[in-house]
Symmetry: C2
Subunit: 205 residues, 2 copies
């Protein structure tokens, strides 16, 4: 009987190693041969799963996006509105060494997406998912009376501002870590969410 | 008499072409031979000025950063406080095709800076310059009474939030242009600056 190979498990095992290697060395410096050796595979086995570096980067990014979304799902379980949004921000912001490594994969992926429409489309869908998540949280907060429903509050602008801040923080935290510290990120989330909190009517007097 | 060569002018001429080519095709797809031809130089002449693609990218980024800062200097001449800050934001945000091309050079540069400490250091200095500019504008606005001086207002958080939003917008505008439009960016600036404006005491009644 031929040996059964669990291809999904093998693929996963490669990605688990590959994403950290890409984060550490960058895509250019990640050699397929070295990577195969680090995964304990023959070179041929690796290229069977990932014919090119582009395929590998795509899989690494998908893995990183899934990791982040898993953390978001866990940390927002049972929460809604601004509480859920706060947890979302904390999981997306690169406040830990592991999340900073994820941001490095994101930067490599974005750079490649500029000239690869298939990657750009994947990123587009991912960003749309996050915009929808932020929108849902803000709508919940409005329903609960925690955020104003006045016409002055432009929810689409609030969503885009927050998303841009989170994405910019991905870059600043890995490029200028001495200035863009986790502590400052914590204060940024607090300030960004605090400004949406509706002042209770009773304190207006 | 030997022909006099204006090396500075030649170098500048190459960079003028190179930055748009990098923006359009990405660094990997930018061939030194093709670029030399497009500049009207022999291949040898190009590598004399830029021995490697890394040198070229660095020069392209410096050119782009200078272009942006020139626009900022022109548009903020005679302005201070929040008025100057608004113009700064408008010049940094990729709201025009030309500024979007600049953002593509920035993304290529950031990706390479991850694994090249010399580029990371240049970026670090650039970001420090912009943090200082935002800080100066906010301090001027405080002096003029346009922004609160209350202890609740954390100027360092405000600087970092704005910088992160601007840098995130660089990415979103070139990666998800259908969602992150110039019109939305205009509204984002307005919202970001509006929240700092101090409510005049007379309207509190």
């Amino acid at each position: 009987m031929p040996k059964t190979v669990d291809h999904a498990a093998r693929r996963r095992a490669i990605v688990e190693v590959a994403w950290t290697v890409i984060a550490e060395r960058g895509l250019e410096a990640t050699g397929m041969r070295d990577l195969a050796r680090e995964c304990g595979f023959a070179n041929g086995a690796l290229s069977h799963y990932f014919p090119s570096k582009g395929d590998l980067l795509r899989a690494a990014w998908e893995h990183v996006f899934e990791r982040t979304n898993d953390r978001v799902a866990t940390s927002t379980a049972g929460l809604r509105g601004l509480d859920a949004l706060e947890q979302f921000c904390k999981q997306v912001l690169p406040m830990t060494p592991s999340a900073q490594a994820e941001a490095k994969v994101v930067l490599n992926f974005w750079q490649r997406a500029l000239s690869h429409p298939d990657l750009a489309e994947i990123n587009d869908t991912a960003m749309a998912t996050w915009r929808a998540f932020i929108r849902r949280c803000l709508h919940e907060a409005q329903t609960d009376g925690a955020v104003t429903t006045s016409a002055d509050f432009d929810i689409e602008v609030a969503i885009e501002e927050l998303l841009a801040m989170l994405m910019g923080a991905q870059m600043l935290a890995i490029l200028t870590p001495d200035a863009h510290t986790p502590l400052l990120q914590e204060r940024m989330i607090a300030a960004a969410l605090q400004r949406h909190v509706r002042t209770p009517v009773s304190t207006v007097n």
